[in-house]
């Protein structure tokens, strides 16, 4: 190890080095705190304060909230949101649980393929399933008779599209929860002749209950705060997210928009708190003596679960496929011949293909800037010794976006960056501010990924380099970053894909010439050009999936080159 770290030009004179390194850490932590304050805390503060001000900026206390709750239409949206979110949660969680159960506790074939199928919706903007369901169950939908005369425009359509959109998030959580289990419990149950149902109720479910609650919380929050689906398929059924849009964009009533934002924050913060409390109460399931559970083939169970997975996975792929197929149709439903003309976006959208390239630019920028910043931030918080208070504060700020829905953060950005007093106002409407917003929106998950990767690296590296008088940045560059390369890639791809598909945060923020692809989908749908909207959504999906495939390829290359040290030779 000393050979790796010892390098003459890196070693500074002892006296100077010690002070310099501490100062560098302190300065970097300070910078990180400042950046997180601007990107996360101040916009939220702007939103909070705006909800207590009237249109002219005077303090009115709770008057805006009083007016909100005195307006029947707005209260109705609150009820609608809670109802739709509860319904979607009740459908998604059992569905995802069964799916995850099949993937972890059965012997069905092609588990990798089925897992990939369930994750597909992650690569699509939430608008896409809504567009698909219009083609499937709309008044001219090819399966509309299945609805027995009910309309897809409203709660039915919203819930169906949300189930599609939330499935991967719930599945990922539940696969993780079910993958960990102590095989000894099942052996004991088998030895005692316990019935399979009893084993499920007394062993499997309790073991996964935190995963189930966590999945339910995530799905509920996602549905309440999603804007794309109710916008496209909600009809006259108003929900909180569309209200926020109507107040801010439609009527430019910023105070009322801020109140809706605050109301939207409530379920998200509650959900976040519930999850934190549960996490604290969770005891380690796996003791050192645990034996990993290995499912044994069981023909009837496996056949039933395989059928279930084919059904669910097939449905997910078909719903995605419908949007892609519809994007090639000439004039639904009267002329079903295929055409490329819906991809000629200049016909439907003032900027033509520009929004797509804007999205690429924005997502690329988010990944390229976000990855090093988040990783360095996580490194400082996790490994540095100095500036303890600053590091604690930075960690708190980094965890904050988890509880803040994108729509709320977007509103905060409008109020903060558009304020006349703000010198950063020049950034308003630029690609830079869109990228900053996306970065802030997705900061927490990326941060946790980086912290997890860093925790796996022994602290000895830092101790050894300190005793060898090598500054931390050398260790970081020569040891930590190469080891963490796969996680860095994960973070970059996560940021890119999410920045590419997000709509609820950026819908308020785009400016002249910086409209994004997902916003163009909303606008084309608004104008009735639903086929072109499906075409743009298809472009987003294809790009996101292509980036993910590239990631898998790069990962394989990296593992064989940079990670060669993991393999013991000679």
């Amino acid at each position: 190890m000393s050979a790796v770290l010892q390098s003459s030009e890196d070693v500074l004179p002892t006296a100077r080095r010690f002070i310099t390194e501490q100062r560098v850490v302190a300065a970097l932590v300070g910078l990180l705190c400042l950046a997180l304050l601007v990107a996360i805390a101040l916009p939220l503060w702007a939103l909070l304060s705006k909800s207590f001000l009237n249109a002219d900026g005077g303090f009115v206390g709770l008057a805006n909230f009083a007016r909100y709750f005195a307006t029947p239409a707005l209260v109705q949206s609150l009820i609608n949101s809670v109802m739709v979110a509860s319904l979607a949660t009740c459908i998604v969680v059992p569905l995802a649980f069964t799916y995850a159960y099949a993937l972890t506790r059965s012997c069905i074939p092609a588990k990798g393929l089925f897992y990939a199928l369930a994750l597909l919706p992650i690569f699509a903007p939430s608008l896409l399933p809504a567009l698909s369901f219009i083609y499937i169950f709309g008044n001219q939908g090819f399966l509309k008779d299945l609805l027995f005369g009910a309309t897809i425009y409203g709660p039915i359509g919203i819930v169906m599209a949300q189930v599609f959109y939330c499935l991967p998030h719930a599945t990922m959580i539940l696969v993780a929860a079910l993958a960990l289990s102590d095989g000894r419990l099942y052996e004991a149950a088998a030895a005692l002749g316990t019935t399979r149902w009893r084993v499920f109720v007394t062993v499997t479910l309790p073991g996964a209950r935190y995963g189930v609650v966590s999945a339910a919380v995530v799905v509920f929050t996602l549905v309440v705060t999603d804007f794309g689906i109710p916008k496209v398929i909600g009809g006259q059924f108003a929900v909180l997210a569309t209200d926020a849009y109507k107040q801010v964009v439609g009527q430019q009533n910023f105070s009322m928009g801020a109140v809706v934002g605050m109301v939207l924050l409530v379920p998200a913060v509650l959900a976040f708190l519930v999850e934190q409390i549960l996490k604290r109460r969770q005891v380690a399931l796996l003791s050192a003596r645990a034996v990993p559970y290995a499912p044994r083939p069981e023909r009837r169970r496996d056949a039933a679960l395989l059928l279930f997975c084919i059904l669910v996975g097939g449905l997910v792929a078909s719903i995605l496929g419908v949007a892609v197929w519809a994007s090639f149709i000439k004039y639904w439903p009267y002329n079903l011949s295929l055409t490329l003309s819906n991809y000629d976006f200049a016909e439907f959208e003032p900027d033509g293909w520009q929004p797509y390239f804007n999205s690429l630019k924005m997502a690329g920028l988010t990944a390229l800037i976000g990855t090093p910043v988040i990783f360095l931030g996580a490194y400082l918080i996790e490994k540095a010794q100095a500036a303890a208070l600053g590091r604690f504060f930075a960690h708190f700020l980094a965890m904050l976006p988890m509880a803040v829905p994108g729509l709320v953060l977007g509103l905060g950005y409008v109020f903060f960056f558009n304020a006349p007093w703000n010198p950063l106002g020049a950034l308003y409407g630029t690609i830079a501010v869109l990228a900053l917003n996306s970065l802030a929106h997705f900061y927490t998950v990326a941060h946790i990924t980086a912290v997890t990767a860093l925790k796996q690296i022994d602290g000895e590296f830092e101790s050894v380099s300190a005793s060898l008088k090598v500054p931390f940045w050398t260790t970081l560059r020569r040891v930590t970053v190469p080891i963490c390369m796969p996680s860095l890639l994960d973070i970059a791809v996560y940021l890119f894909v999410n920045a590419m598909t997000t709509v609820s945060a950026v819908i308020f923020l785009y400016g002249p010439g910086t409209k994004l692809a997902s916003i163009a989908v909303v606008h084309m749908d608004e104008a009735g050009a639903i086929a072109a909207a499906a075409a743009m959504a298809t472009c987003i999906v294809v790009t996101a999936i292509a980036v993910k495939l590239l990631h898998l390829l790069l990962d394989a290359v990296l593992l064989s080159r940079l990670q060669r040290w993991r393999v013991r030779t000679g």
């Binding site: 307006t71 029947p72 239409a73 109705q76 949206s77 609608n80 219009i134 709309g138 008044n139 001219q140 005369g149 009910a150 309309t151 425009y153 409203g154 709660p155 009809g235 006259q236 059924f237 108003a238 964009v249 439609g250 009527q251 430019q252 910023f254 004039y331 639904w332 439903p333 009267y334 002329n335 200049a346 016909e347 439907f348 959208e349 003032p350 900027d351 033509g352 630019k361 690329g364 920028l365 390229l368 006349p420 970053v481 400016g511 002249p512 010439g513 606008h523 084309m524 608004e526 104008a527 009735g528 050009a529 639903i530």
Partner: protein, 342 residues
Amino acid sequence: MRRWLLAAGAAIALAFGSGAADAQQRTRVTIYTALENEQLAPFKQAIEAAVPGVEVVWVRDSTGVITARVIAERENPRADMIMGLAASSLLMFEGMNLLEPYTPAGVDALKPAFRDSAPPATWTGMDAYLGVICFNTTEARRFNAPMPATWQDLTKPEFRGRLVMPHPASSGTGYLMVAMWLQQMGEEAGWRFMDALHENMAVYTHSGSAPCVQAARGERVAGISLDMRGARERTQGAPIEVIIPAEGTGWDMEATSIVRGTRNLEAARRIADWVATRQANELYSRFYAVVAYPGVTNTPANYPANAEARMFPNNFTWMADNRERILAEWSRRYESKAAPRN
């Protein structure tokens, strides 16, 4: 690793640098507009050809959104000009002192109704648009919905849940219809009519052309919508009739103004001059049947023949003065019933 970063940095610099260099040479004029999407590219091209050294940057949204946005930004205006916005909205801005007075060269050649005759002139008319009914005959047969000849016909039970119109707060077409019914029937009868209409309405859309597209695709039986969209959808092969009821229909004028406080006043004035030219009006007439310049006509295929005759005598000042009151009342009556209906 370092080489990678260098390459990535170079790529970013290239991506952003190329745009910046181009923009420096020309004056960027930010124009807020409610023109239809497909019009923006040809308009930009025509303006930039006619006024050298200018780069047009559009901010496009529906009439209601642009109107609300201009009012919200009045302390700190971000637009240099407003183009293709309802005259009733511009009259409202004039009352709030948000517009820069300017009389474009050659404005005298325009039809009198399209000129701001009350000095100082703040707006220049471009074209007129009116509300029509797009009626899908294929779908109508399925539900036995009779072809509407009057506005009252749309309140028949056969249209229940199969009718669609634009939201008057966000769409200019929506507001001109509501304003027409109220002016023509009188306030009390007008609201009563809209109460009945509301019972049949499946949805109020954000945009003024979406209702016709939805009717054209059979998603709804009838849509109250923008005239030109009706002609266009029919020409593309949709089984629709474009109907203007016998009582006449609402209309508004699209016009251009310069925003007070613009930093690009000189460029904005030259663009305003272009707006009043014959070439500009020939461009409008590619998209609108009725334009400001006398003698420039280009009635598109399938455009209702009786359109100009059936434009009811609209009072723009009334539309501007009563806009906020009417929209508040409309919202009170029809937005609280947010539950879906069939």
